[in-house]
């Protein structure tokens, strides 16, 4: 490598704070009053609302999981009866999938997409607010089921008829569950339209598709899958509700209907749903790993292509959930299910390739990203086993499947979610979280999670069926169940350091600065927390790492091709787009006072 000669002062790295001013220069764009929060159409406020609401649902779903694990800790019925147990596991699954995991992805989409592509907001802000409120009301209705006669729905999160039909589940709770999913499904569809429109039409100049952060790509393709899958579910549930209320017979075999039709419709939604949950979180770790490995992402286009392939294949594997019905084309669905391991493997390869030879620092987001990799690979491997019909016939509806789905949908989501929270917390609040508490949080969670769910593989292998409230003390069932329940206690305790950390952090002054991690993508080019409509100023975008190029703009051999030219062009022709500190070699120059934003109003006086 040749070294380019340059004067010492020219070697200086810029920081984003040189451009947007010290912390607190611009006021936060979030509402300040209760009415402000209720009427807001701002994507950042709605993103924060989505995140808080989905974390509340995580707590509710976690509490229900606590009831399940307490009941299963030893043989016999101690805490709840069978009917209540059915309601508890149904609402646990439904809350976790429909009201926690998917909406947290939408929280990321809301908050981050406009910031990462350099837009002032999503394309349809009021539609966005409508989606959020539909989700809140839909979620509340599902929980209302617990106070109806006969309790909440008890047919499992996929509501197979005839159990979910008018005879199998006569209670009002089942109807409320169906209505709730129709509402949240509509909310998801509207958000997906919003995300696709925003990414297609609202990118900043120079932000080509192949310069978008991988998270934006993943959310874009996720939204496409939402458009494909959610309306099918909504349709299936309207048919189911019509069966229950209006006497139609879509799914009643005695009247010529077909329960298998429902299963097809449900899983045509249900399998893409798994990837709708997972892809945003893949995007999160793809943002985190390069920053803390101090390397560019390895194989950017490969990752985009892998996501595309996963999105495409995930819509053609649905019936692998229906192997045991004996009514599906086994070779087709087994082949497509095995194929999906290839792009997933490419992703894991690229993540490891990014870390390889990098200067890794184990900041909290990186710890959780690695935790994500561990659980995701463990869950992916059992997925490949379950994709084989011969093994699936044995393992279907056993605790092996429960272990598998909690690794791929539970572990990956929860670890990547905390990677996201620790990573973007300074951006959202302007404050840092304690690294020491976060490390304690990570290790407790890693131990607790694996203790809870790994032993479920043994339970399933030995033949324990899922969705049962009681079991016989045979084959070591009681031993592994006790271990799993103890793991659940550790997992619950692991949230304590996080809560303490959040409370502690919110009491500190907001001094984190615009770019505390020295990260890459465009959201770090605005102040923390971002002002209303996000950007007062944008750096030139010449690669998928505009903020990296900004820091290194004096180093032509490091920053992306064209960066220096773009800055020179601004300096020569268009001083409106220059930073507060002029682009110059002379570092003693005072900031241009006339263009510094007013601290109270955020208005720029030029």
């Amino acid at each position: 490598m040749t070294t380019i000669e340059r004067p010492d002062e020219d070697q200086r790295l810029y920081s984003v704070d040189d451009f947007v001013g010290p912390p607190g220069t611009l006021p936060s764009g979030l509402p300040r009053t209760l009415v402000g929060w209720l009427t807001t159409t701002d994507h950042k406020a709605l993103g924060v609302l989505y995140a808080i609401t989905s974390l509340v649902f995580l707590a509710i779903g976690g509490a229900l999981a606590g009831i399940i694990r307490t009941e299963l800790a030893e043989p016999g019925l101690q805490v709840v009866d069978e009917a209540t147990y059915n309601s508890v596991f149904t609402i646990h699954g439904s809350v976790m999938v429909y009201l926690f995991a998917v909406p947290f992805g939408f929280a990321l989409a809301n908050y981050l997409i406009p910031l990462q592509i350099g837009a002032p907001d999503l394309a349809f802000p009021r539609l966005n607010a409508l989606s959020y409120w539909l989700y809140v009301f839909g979620g509340a209705i599902m929980l209302l089921g617990f106070v109806t006669d006969g309790g909440a729905a008890g047919f499992g999160w996929f509501a197979y008829p005839p159990l979910s039909g008018p005879i199998g589940s006569p209670g009002l709770g089942a109807d409320l569950w169906i209505v709730s999913i129709i509402l949240t499904g509509t909310s998801g569809t509207l958000t997906a339209v919003n995300v696709i429109s925003t990414i297609t039409m609202m990118r900043a100049p120079g932000m080509t598709m192949f310069r978008m952060p991988i998270l934006c790509w993943n959310l874009f393709l996720t939204s496409f899958m939402v458009l494909l899958a959610f309306p099918v579910l909504t349709g299936a549930l309207i048919m189911l509700e019509a069966d229950r209320r209006f006497g139609t017979d879509f799914f009643d075999p005695t009247q010529g209907g077909s329960p298998i039709l429902y299963q097809h419709l449900f899983w045509f939604f249900g399998h893409p749903e798994v990837y709708i949950v997972a892809l945003p979180f893949f995007g999160v770790v793809t943002e985190v790993i390069p920053v803390f490995s101090r390397r560019p992402i390895f194989g950017y286009k490969g990752l985009v292509l892998a996501t595309l392939t996963i999105a495409a294949l995930s819509t053609s594997v649905w019936a692998h959930h229906m192997f045991v019905t004996g009514q599906v084309v086994l070779p087709f669905f087994a082949a497509t299910s095995f194929l999906i391991a290839v792009p997933t493997g490419v992703k894991v390869f690229n993540w490891i390739g990014t870390m390889w030879g990098g200067s890794i620092s184990f900041e909290p987001p990186m710890l959780f990203a690695i935790g994500f990799l561990v659980t995701f690979i463990a869950g992916g491997l059992t997925g490949v086993m379950l994709a084989s019909p011969t093994l699936d016939f044995h393992l279907s509806d056993s605790y092996f499947v429960v272990a598998h789905l909690h690794y791929v949908m539970g572990g990956t989501v929860i670890f990547a979610l905390f990677a996201a929270i620790y990573f973007w917390w300074p951006k959202v609040t302007g404050r840092m979280l304690s690294k020491r508490l976060a490390t304690v949080h990570f290790w407790l969670m890693m131990v607790g999670f694996n203790l809870t769910f790994f032993v479920m593989h043994f339970l399933g292998r030995d033949g324990m069926a899922r969705r049962v409230a009681d079991y016989e003390p045979v084959d070591g069932f009681e031993r592994w169940n006790l271990v799993s329940s103890i793991g659940m206690v550790v997992l619950t305790v692991s949230f304590l350091p996080f809560v303490v950390n959040v409370v502690w952090s919110l009491r500190q002054p907001p001094t984190a600065g615009a770019d505390p991690w020295e990260a890459n993508s465009l959201e770090w080019a605005t102040s923390s927390p971002p002002p209303e409509h996000n950007f007062t100023w944008l750096p030139p975008i010449r690669s998928e790492r505009p903020v990296f190029d900004l820091r290194w703009m004096n180093h032509e051999d490091v920053s992306a091709t064209g960066t220096t030219e773009a800055w020179t062009a601004r300096s020569d022709h268009d001083s409106r787009w220059l930073p507060l500190h002029p682009f110059t070699d002379d570092h003693d120059v005072e900031p241009r006072a006339d263009s510094r934003p007013d601290a109270d109003t955020g208005a720029t006086t030029t």
Partner: protein
């Protein structure tokens, strides 16, 4: 817009292919019609973005050498805070709940939706 168009054409092509393959190996009408509807979904957006590009050409966000100054002036008008989305969501919730709980709620829900929609379209800035 070129890349977006190619992407959506790819979606259309993929679902045509996989739909045909699935029909050939299984003959299952449910899955085949779902896949063919996905073809339509992809085709719709592909056609729209193709037409958009034909009318308006390439944009600054598609050029690798564009900078912020290439897109100045009024780029969009953003709505102010509004109570309508919340009220509209409440009306939609009441409507679907009305199917379950009784027509009184259905009527209330439809009334809320109608009034809020009327207010929403007039509520351009506040």
């Amino acid at each position: 817009m070129k890349l977006e168009t190619i992407l959506w054409i790819g979606v259309t092509a993929y679902f045509t292919l996989i739909g045909a393959l699935y029909w050939a190996v299984g003959g299952d009408p449910t899955g085949t019609s779902l896949l063919l509807m996905a073809t339509g979904l992809g085709g719709l957006v592909a056609g729209w973005s193709w037409d958009w590009r034909r009318r308006h050409g390439e944009r600054p966000e598609d050029r690798v050498d564009a900078d912020a100054s290439d897109e100045t002036g009024v780029v969009g008008v953003y709505p102010t805070a509004s109570l309508r989305p919340l009220a509209l969501a409440l009306g939609m919730t009441a409507t679907v709940l009305g199917v379950v709980l009784g027509s009184w709620m259905l009527i209330a829900g439809v009334a809320i939706i109608a009034s809020q929609l009327a207010l929403l379209v007039r509520d351009t800035d506040g």
